[in-house]
């Protein structure tokens, strides 16, 4: 999984990086199964590795981005970025491993989590998180409207240019 994640940020071709991210997300789904979250694992495969990554690959191929431009104006920032990221990573790992607590018994985990079934997660979503659930619905609606309006404005501005050559073409008989 770490190899895949490193591949995401080091590979030059965006398509390769996106496919590397797909591998990372699928590995994460298997980790979810090990963490008693079967429903989330399947959602991860369907939504993330399926829908979101297809959207990414579609945009990469639509825009025909060949290569990352590489380091440009801010070359001096790059060593600083590596140092900062390394320090943050070490600090995070030290923070989370400095005070280990024992896991509860396997039987308790099995009983409470119920394998992370859709039933149990749905109960939590519609009892404790019902407000967040509704807000996510509003957010998704806003996202749909935003994405459509972004594309729609461009389509409207390009429409006169696109339609003018079509008018000059003579009508052709269909069929025959």
């Amino acid at each position: 999984m770490i190899v895949g994640a490193v591949g995401v940020i080091t590979l030059k071709q965006p398509v390769h990086a996106a496919l590397s991210l797909v591998g990372t997300l699928l590995t994460l789904a298997t980790i979810y199964v090990g963490l008693e979250a079967h429903f989330l694992a399947s959602i991860q495969v369907i939504v993330y590795a399926g829908a979101i990554m297809v959207l990414f690959l579609f945009v990469i191929m639509l825009l025909n981005i060949q290569q990352d431009p590489g380091p440009g104006a801010f070359t001096w920032l790059r060593p600083l970025a590596y140092t900062l990221a390394g320090l943050v990573g070490i600090a995070l790992i030290m923070a989370v491993t400095s005070d280990p607590r024992p896991l509860p018994d396997a039987a308790v985990i099995q009983n409470t989590m119920d394998g992370g079934s859709p039933d149990a997660i749905g109960t939590a979503l519609f009892s404790e998180f019902v407000l967040a659930f509704q807000l996510v619905g509003v957010l998704l609606l806003t996202g749909i409207i935003g994405a459509v309006s972004l594309v729609e404005r461009k389509a409207a501005s390009q429409a006169p240019e696109a339609s003018s050559p079509q008018e000059e073409r003579p009508l052709e008989t269909v069929g025959s």
Partner: protein, 106 residues
């Protein structure tokens, strides 16, 4: 069973790699991919802690997994809008380099 710390350490490593990607890459789509990496690291931490707190009962433990579900939906919305903006910028500028957008005004 694997202790929770290992999962959290893995999550921290993945998050750091994602942050490094955001800091070092210049193509906007690569930055998006790195942000996805960071979101997934946060999800992994939430799921790991959800299992860790299963002693506190199903309501507490499964709230972690419910939060991951909500984050998934938010990530989907973010990707849809972000890629829409990216396509719009690319049509105008013919480049996905974020440095070329330095003069942009909101």
């Amino acid at each position: 069973m694997v202790p929770t710390e290992y999962y959290i350490a893995l999550s921290a490593i993945i998050f750091t790699i994602g942050a490094l990607g955001v800091l070092t890459r210049r193509s906007a789509i690569m930055i998006f991919l790195s942000v996805e990496l960071m979101l997934n690291a946060a999800n992994l931490a939430l799921v790991a802690y959800a299992r860790h707190w299963s002693i506190a009962g199903a309501a507490v433990a499964l709230s972690g997994q419910a939060a991951v579900f909500i984050i998934l939906a938010i990530a989907a919305a973010e990707v849809a809008v972000g890629l829409g903006i990216l396509v719009a910028i690319f049509r105008y500028r013919n480049s996905s380099d974020v440095d070329s957008l330095a003069g942009i005004k909101l």
